[in-house]
């Protein structure tokens, strides 16, 4: 069944036609994307996700901004927002925020790094399947770009009552968002699955 494609939006069977680089194959019935030819290689994904992991650390260790208000200065890091919610006994919202803004992007990157390393060193452990499934799951729940917009809104609201200085944490957070968007743009898990099958056959 290597010569056919099935549209995963409308279930139409389409013949597989080789396409040029940077072109998209679209479903003739529903116009959804069938396949592209510009996915990143596994090593490229590994490089990007390692960069992302380093940025996650920097974004969480260094404060995103310092705020001067009512005569006192205070700095805030990424997880502090969710942490404050947990301390005020708002567990559900706190966990939701911490999951979407920190846990999901972090686990997305670390599962991806692990999967890339296992595939490139040709080690097919049973965890590999789980890792690839988790990567797929966490792409849905990582909401860095939403967090960045929310952050800007919060800053805008606060700027009336306080002086705000941006810090290193924000810079690495913005870079992290770009890196993770880039990964999601170029990530094609089909390459990973095929590499896994190829390694298993050896």
């Amino acid at each position: 069944m290597s010569n056919i494609n099935v549209c995963n939006k409308c279930d139409l069977i389409v013949d597989h036609i080789p396409i040029a680089k940077n072109r998209h194959a679209l479903c003739p019935r529903c116009n959804s994307l069938l396949y592209t030819n510009n996915a990143f290689s596994i090593s490229a994904i590994l490089a990007l996700s390692l960069t992302g992991l380093i940025l996650v650390v920097i974004a969480n260790v260094f404060p995103m901004f310092t705020i001067t208000m009512l005569g006192a200065e205070e700095s805030a890091t990424l997880i502090q927002g969710a942490w404050a919610l947990l301390q005020k006994k708002s567990y559900f919202v706190g966990l939701l925020v911490i999951f979407c803004s920190f846990i999901a992007p972090f686990l997305f990157l670390s599962c991806l790094v692990q999967a890339c390393l296992l595939l490139l060193t040709k080690r097919n452990t049973p965890q590999l399947i789980l890792l690839l499934k988790l990567v797929k799951f966490f792409t849905e729940w990582s909401m860095l770009e939403v967090y960045l917009v929310s952050f800007l809104i919060a800053i805008f609201k606060l700027s009336d009552i306080a002086d705000i200085q941006f810090q290193l944490g924000l810079l690495s957070f913005v870079s992290l968002m770009f890196i993770s968007s880039l990964i999601m743009y170029g990530l094609n898990l089909e390459i990973f699955w095929q590499k896994m099958e190829k390694n298993a056959k050896r």
Binding site: M1, I4, V6, N8, K9, C10, D11, L12, I13, R29, C30, N31, S32, I67, M69, L70, A72, E74, A76, Q80, G81, A82, W83, A84, L85, K88, S90, F92, V93, G94, L96, V97, C100, S101, I129, L132, K133, K136, E140, M143, V146, Y147, V149, S150, F151, I153, A154, F156, K157, L158, D160, I161, A162, L189, E190, W193, M196, E197
Partner: protein, 207 residues
């Protein structure tokens, strides 16, 4: 124009592998990732309806209970989503007010009503063309995560404004309900199988 299902080809939900489905094998698993093989997401319509109705019910407390309470100089003022937006609009932050209004009121409503329209149309209650149904679904799927914005804003405000009685923000029960609405609508979109749009043919489908 042939459907894969009619040719006994299933696509794995997890790894998208194409699998020949054998008639006599019960509980077939994907040879690549060992997920159970289904032609469609099992009980997709029922699941989506259940999640949607729950989300629609949760919209009521999410909008009427206070989402956050601002304490300033000893005075506490609870704010619902709407009153917070109106207060923002009055204090000259019209742009921000519009963004918050769209993200926390219009988007959840759009998601719930849109998915309900798709489901009703699939169940032959109303007529929407297949391509428009998919377009609507793609919009709902894409916009899904943006409605959580208000909760992120609240979490940052809670973290920064913590001077006790002088100036602080506390999350309210409305925030919990709103969080549930966001999760439920995202899950509803996830559990809907777009292939059903082409499976269940419309009785009065125009050619």
């Amino acid at each position: 124009m042939q459907n894969a299902k009619d040719n006994k080809i299933a696509q794995c939900h997890e790894c998208n592998l194409l699998i020949d489905v054998k008639q006599d094998v019960k509980r077939q698993r994907c040879p690549r990732c060992f997920t159970r093989v289904h032609f469609r997401i099992p009980r997709s319509i029922q699941k989506t309806w259940a999640l949607l109705i729950t989300a629609a019910v949760m919209m009521i407390p999410a909008n009427f209970l206070p989402i956050s309470t601002l304490t300033s100089a000893g005075q506490s003022t609870p704010d619902t989503i709407m009153s917070g937006t109106i207060a923002l609009a009055k204090s000259d932050d019209l742009g921000i007010a519009i963004i918050i209004f769209i993200a926390s009121i219009l988007v959840p409503l759009f998601k719930i009503i849109g998915l309900m329209l798709i489901l009703l149309s699939i169940q032959n209650k109303i007529f929407i063309t297949q391509k428009r149904k998919l377009l609507l679904f793609n919009a709902i799927h894409w916009i899904g995560k943006w409605s959580i914005m208000d909760l992120f804003v609240i979490s940052i405000m809670v973290a920064v404004l913590n001077r006790g009685n002088l100036l602080s923000v506390d999350p309210g029960y409305g925030a919990t309900c709103f969080g549930l609405v966001v999760i439920l609508t995202i899950l509803a979109a996830e559990s809907f199988d777009t292939r059903l749009i082409w499976d269940l043919n419309h009785t009065n489908e125009r050619k």
